[in-house]
Amino acid sequence: MISVKNVTKTFGSYKAVDDISFSIKQGENIVFLGTSGSGKTTLLKMINRLLEPDHGEIAIDGVSIYVQRPEELRRKIGYVFQNNGLFPHYTISENISIVPRLLGWDKKRMAARAIELMEKLRLPSEQYGAAYPFQLSGGQQQRVGIARALAADPPILLMDEPFGALDPITRSAVKKDFKELDELRSKTIVLVTHDVQEAFELADRIFLMDKGKVVQEGTPDQLLFEPAGEYVRTFFEEQRFPLEAERIAAGDYPALIRAFDKFKNRHR
């Protein structure tokens, strides 16, 4: 579905993304995981041309993204920002309807879609439809940001640290409702995060990035149990126990104790 070939992006003399290639299948949930400055957000923004690479080729469904106008491309790709990026001068339902409006939907369809999404994201439309973003809490604003990205039902959803700015309790509530959305079932999702827990929770495949390179690409289990080197191993060290514990079958206490001992010994 999305294929990235030999993509490089530099800012001045700094190589943010260094010759990366990969491909993503339709319906996959991909997480770019890494520390800040690892190049994960740069890579994400090149997929909808918010940034243009210096070299390399990106194609969606076999068609180069550079043969169409950027705005046409972006209307087919949902995008969620860390700090929501809502329009302060638009009401909630206007914010949700931005892309449908650009696509020329009629009013009735836009309104119905906005109401539908607000209900799905637990924002009662009669209460919030006419409100402005500043009247909402951070968690609610982020729900609107997600609804806005999904409004025109794009096949691809790009998410840049979508839960990063929320407090832990709000984060788990928003994340829970997000994961339960039926809208996401057939979507290809690329999510950027520095949160290992979140990556393991949401990813089919994780791209662990460092200094503009993909250090290892694989399923959460592969990264956890078959680290491709010292960097990958240390990256997960802190949270190894909870991550492994989640992967042990319920009731298998001996395995759990082995995992805990291993974790304890490393941290001695």
């Binding site: 972006r74 990026g85 302060p88």
Partner: protein
């Protein structure tokens, strides 16, 4: 002190004029504001996208702002002439900076996250500009427009200097005439206008999201509508156009007298005397109020109209000397009287012309004249004493003073020290009465109206003839100030109406009565 009632009654009396000036002022303000927004807004938007141009554009607009407004008008006159066009241009240049700067700052101040989101949603650059950037920058842009409006109302008063009308006509007329009510009648409405417009625009600035979109759409229409105020008063027609100085407009021996005594009814604009002559020469004006011996009369081939009903008091020049000096050096009086009757209006005009336009020195000009008249003698370098000569600051006075000093040096054993350039009448006269100078050339009309100031009825009775004014002034000065008025030099540097020679001849206008009759015929 002026009482509030008298200001009120002045405004009431002049209400038609006041209304016209106010409307002109509003029109002038908005027409330039409209152009400013039309140019400044796109320019401000452009420099948010081209940072290199930003410094250049903001720098240029900033420099425009620092040029003193009068100087800016001065620069514009040679290029654009007089009237509304240079006035609007000047206002436009002044208002440009706040509009450009605030557009630039407003758009740059929009949350970059929101801007990026607009692009990520699939907006084109244009859609983002209209739907996001401009709407969110609106309060800041409006603040700039408010500043520009207030600047325009203020600087707009200067439009009166170049025949573009507005409330400056009262303000500058009042200053020239030392008439506080007149100044206030212009200044108070101008200040109220600035406050009112600023308030109305502040309402717009604080408008909510929805009304803001409506406001953005209506703004150009409102601006255009208010701009049209200015165009309307210029719509009526009369074949001749007069340009009078603010001072002349308010004087009894000026516009008021012309209307009252002659019944002269001519379309009039107010203009500063610095640009008036040039304007009539360029056919922007047909009649002006000038001084009858001004060198520009000759430079621009103008003729003065005869004041056949004598509303302009005579301004015959004569040397005024302190009595002590007359007694101490009895040989002085005959020498100073050698010029008496020798210089008529056209000779004086020619002398002024040489100095003002041919850039001859006053001294050269004075010597040439005396030589031609057979009066010049080489200095005797005498040691009998020193006579101190004074003069006001303009070429005519310099020329006369130089002639007197050459005569005194050539015909007596006295030495001369010149103190030229003594400001205006008041300074010159004070210097004379306080024993700082011994003599200077003064004008009968000035002495009568500016120094002696007899009651109005007395003045009216006196001003009909040259001799009655001279005799009155001579007697009063001798009695009250111990000053001697010697014989008049001959020319009369009075107020006069002037026309281009060719046009006056073609319309067969020689006197002010001719002009009045021509205009009456024209109208019927």
């Amino acid at each position: 002190m002026d009482h509030p009632e008298s200001l009120w009654s002045f405004m009431h009396e002049q209400s038609a004029k006041l209304l016209q000036q106010t409307i002109q002022h509003i029109g002038l303000t908005f027409i330039s504001l409209f152009i400013t927004v039309l140019v400044g807004l796109p320019l401000g938007i452009y420099i948010t996208r081209n940072k290199r141009a930003a410094g250049l554009v903001l720098g240029f607009a900033g420099v425009m702002q620092t040029i003193p407004s009068i100087a800016l008008l001065g620069f514009l006159i040679p290029v654009l002439g007089i009237g509304p066009i240079p006035a609007i241009t000047a206002l436009f240049l002044y208002a440009l900076l706040p509009v450009i700067r605030n557009t630039y700052a407003g758009i740059n101040g929009v949350d970059p996250g929101v801007k990026e989101a607009a692009l990520a949603m699939g907006m084109t650059g244009w859609q983002r500009l209209i739907r996001v950037d401009l709407v969110l920058a609106f309060p800041v842009i409006m603040a700039g427009i408010r500043t520009a409006t207030v600047i325009n109302v203020g600087v707009g008063t200067l439009a009166a200097y170049i025949a573009a009308g507005g409330l400056g006509e009262f303000i500058f007329g009042g200053i020239a005439l030392n008439n506080t009510n007149m100044i206030l009648a212009g200044a108070i409405p101008a200040a109220l206008l600035a406050i009112l417009l600023d308030f109305l625009l502040s309402l717009l600035q604080r408008a909510g999201n929805r009304s803001r979109r409506v406001a953005l759409g209506l703004l150009p229409l409102v601006l255009l509508c208010l701009s049209s105020f200015y165009v309307l008063p210029l719509g009526y027609s009369s074949r001749l156009l007069a340009g009078f100085t603010p001072e002349f407009m308010g004087r009894r021996d000026g516009d008021i007298g012309l209307r009252a005594v002659y019944g002269l009814n001519i379309r009039t604009v107010v203009i500063s005397d610095a640009v008036m002559y040039k304007a009539i020469f360029n056919r922007k004006l047909d009649v002006i109020s000038g001084y009858s011996t001004d060198g520009r009369l000759k430079a621009y081939d103008l003729v003065t109209l005869e004041d056949d009903r004598k509303i302009f008091p005579p301004y015959y020049a004569a040397p005024v000397v302190r009595n002590e000096v007359m007694e101490k050096y009895p040989e002085l009086a005959p020498v100073l009287n050698m010029l008496a009757g020798r210089i008529n209006d056209s000779v004086m005009t020619d002398l002024n012309f040489r100095v003002e336009y041919l850039n001859q020195s006053p001294e050269q000009c004075a010597r040439d004249f005396l030589v031609a008249q057979g009066l010049y003698r080489a200095p005797r370098n005498g040691k009998r004493g020193v006579v101190r000569l004074g003069s006001k600051i303009f070429p005519e006075q310099y020329i006369l003073t130089d002639m007197y000093s050459m005569l005194v040096r050539g015909y007596t054993d006295l030495e001369v020290s010149s103190k030229t350039g003594l400001g205006g009448t008041k300074i010159c006269f004070e210097a004379l009465t306080h024993d700082q100078i011994d003599m200077y050339p003064e004008y009968t009309g000035t002495a009568l109206l500016a120094i002696l100031q007899p009651p109005a009825a007395e003045t009216a009775r006196l001003t009909v003839s040259r001799d009655s004014v001279y005799n009155y002034v001579k007697a009063a000065m001798q009695r009250d100030y111990h000053l001697t008025w010697l014989s008049p030099i001959g020319f009369n540097n009075a107020y006069a109406l002037m026309m281009r020679r060719a046009q006056a001849r073609q319309l067969r206008i020689q006197t002010i009565t001719d002009l009045t009759n021509y205009l009456k015929k024209d109208r019927s």
